[in-house]
């Protein structure tokens, strides 16, 4: 058995588990994780809307990062939740990215929300799509002047980004803006852990679209994740045992 095959078996098990979980009715029996960071983010978003301050959602610098696949896709998958919160507000949301494909897909998500919900504020001026620079550092150079003192309400980071994110965070913090960070490279997670209270690291990074909505869909995805996590831990422990026993 090769490691590639082990990987395929793992992917297959995950797919089968997700499919099986469709037929399970949870009815609040499966506990949804309490994540204060997500509650803080939603509160900060609402407060920013009420006070008319700017909201930034950054989608990262790469759609398909080599080392962290899934982060770009995850950044796009959280967008509908942000857009639904914005439906009654007259502008102020900026979706920033350092990757052209992320910007294009974000625009498609915004337009679909507009088309399906007939909410003109989500179109054009409502949710602005901005590409501040095509590389991480040029993005930083382009973004920092935009986070001006009068408009910094909240900043939410998703997708892939590096330790330069500390500069964005610092700019918003100095203006008393709220910050939420989820994702980023390993270095970015370490750096943001130092300075951001509401930060999600590791597998919690992918919790955002499910955790605040305790419905069946959220429960089934969390159940799958928990089963796989347990299988992974057991596999690692068995591997360590076999290594110590001289079998591997």
């Amino acid at each position: 058995m090769t490691w590639t095959l082990v990987g395929w078996v793992f992917i297959g098990c995950a797919a089968v588990l997700l499919l099986i979980s469709i037929f399970i009715r949870f009815e609040n029996r499966y506990p949804i994780r309490q994540m204060p960071a997500i509650a803080h983010l939603r509160k900060a978003q609402s407060a920013s809307m009420e006070t008319g301050r700017g909201r930034w959602v950054l989608l990262g610098d790469r759609f398909i990062p080599q080392a962290y696949p899934g982060l770009g896709l995850h950044a796009l998958s959280v967008l509908p939740m942000f857009l639904s919160m914005e439906s009654g507000v007259d502008g102020g949301l900026t979706l920033g990215s350092a990757d052209g494909s992320l910007a294009v897909f974000a625009r498609q998500v915004v337009q679909n929300n507009y088309r399906d919900g007939f909410s003109p504020v989500l179109h054009q001026a409502g949710a602005q799509i901005a590409l501040y620079g095509p590389t991480p550092l040029s993005f930083t150079a382009g973004l920092l002047p935009e986070l001006s003192p009068l408009t910094s309400g909240s900043l939410a980071l998703f997708g892939h980004y590096g330790p330069e994110s500390l500069l964005w965070v610092d700019a918003v913090q100095r203006r008393h803006g709220a910050i939420f960070a989820s994702g980023g490279s390993l270095a970015a997670q370490a750096v943001l852990f130092l300075s951001v209270r509401d930060v999600l690291i590791g597998e919690a990074t992918f919790a955002y679209p499910q955790a605040p909505a305790p419905d069946n869909r959220a429960a089934r995805q969390l159940l799958t994740e928990d089963v796989l996590r347990l299988a992974l831990i057991l596999g690692l422990l068995i591997g360590v045992g076999l290594k110590l026993g001289g079998v591997l």
Binding site: W8, D99, V109, L137
Partner: protein, 205 residues
């Protein structure tokens, strides 16, 4: 109908690419073609992204906002680099020196600012996260790694103390692997959710 079509294209392309990994010889020509299409689309998306960038700065110029000066500098630099890049080959010494001698110092200065900000942020760790086991562990681990990496401790590698220190110095690596495993697990599930249409970011659910 539009939703069904979008899902069918997504599922077909995803299954084809996944199947291509399992049946490489059989699906290699088709897979290559699909990957080429993907690359062309990504290239086109990049160009559109550059269009967004230009539009933002041109709009700043017309609105005469406070960042009008920076937008002006950006546009001049952008078009100069674009035209120079189109006329001169990338190996041209004048062109590469011109770009690198501006780009590298600017990037280095941003990294220098980042280093100072990082130092300041590390001083605020406990104030940000409070006295939690995670923050204390982070702090102790960071201090321990700093002392070890500085090389000021005279540790003999094969001595018992050296082996303990070696074990402890590998702990951050183990932690990093743990976080990466968690992210890989989350990434796998995000991919599967989109593939199985549980999550449809491209469409209102």
């Amino acid at each position: 109908m539009r939703k069904i079509l979008a899902f069918a294209i997504l599922a077909g392309a995803s299954l084809l690419i996944l199947g291509g990994y399992a049946f490489q010889e059989l699906l290699a020509p088709v897979l290559g073609m699909v990957m080429d299409w993907g690359l062309v689309l990504l290239g086109a998306a990049f160009l559109i992204g550059i269009g967004y960038l230009l539009r933002m700065h041109i709009s700043n110029l017309f609105k005469a906002e406070k960042s009008v000066g920076m937008s002006g500098i950006f546009l001049v630099a952008f078009f100069f680099t674009l035209i120079a890049g189109l006329i001169l080959p990338t190996e041209n010494a004048f062109y590469s020196n011109l770009v690198l001698n501006i780009q590298l110092p600017v990037e280095a200065s941003l990294l220098a600012v980042l280093a100072v900000t990082l130092f300041y942020a590390s001083l605020r760790l406990v104030r940000t996260q409070g006295w939690t086991p995670l923050s204390v562990g982070f702090l102790v681990s960071a201090l321990f790694s700093l002392v070890l990496e500085s090389g000021i401790l005279p540790i003999v590698p094969n001595s018992p103390i050296g082996q303990v220190v070696s074990l402890l110095s590998r702990l951050p690596l183990a932690g990093a692997r743990g976080i990466l495993l968690g992210m890989a697990l989350g990434g796998l599930l995000v991919g599967l959710r989109v593939l199985l249409s549980f999550e449809r970011p491209y469409d209102e659910e």
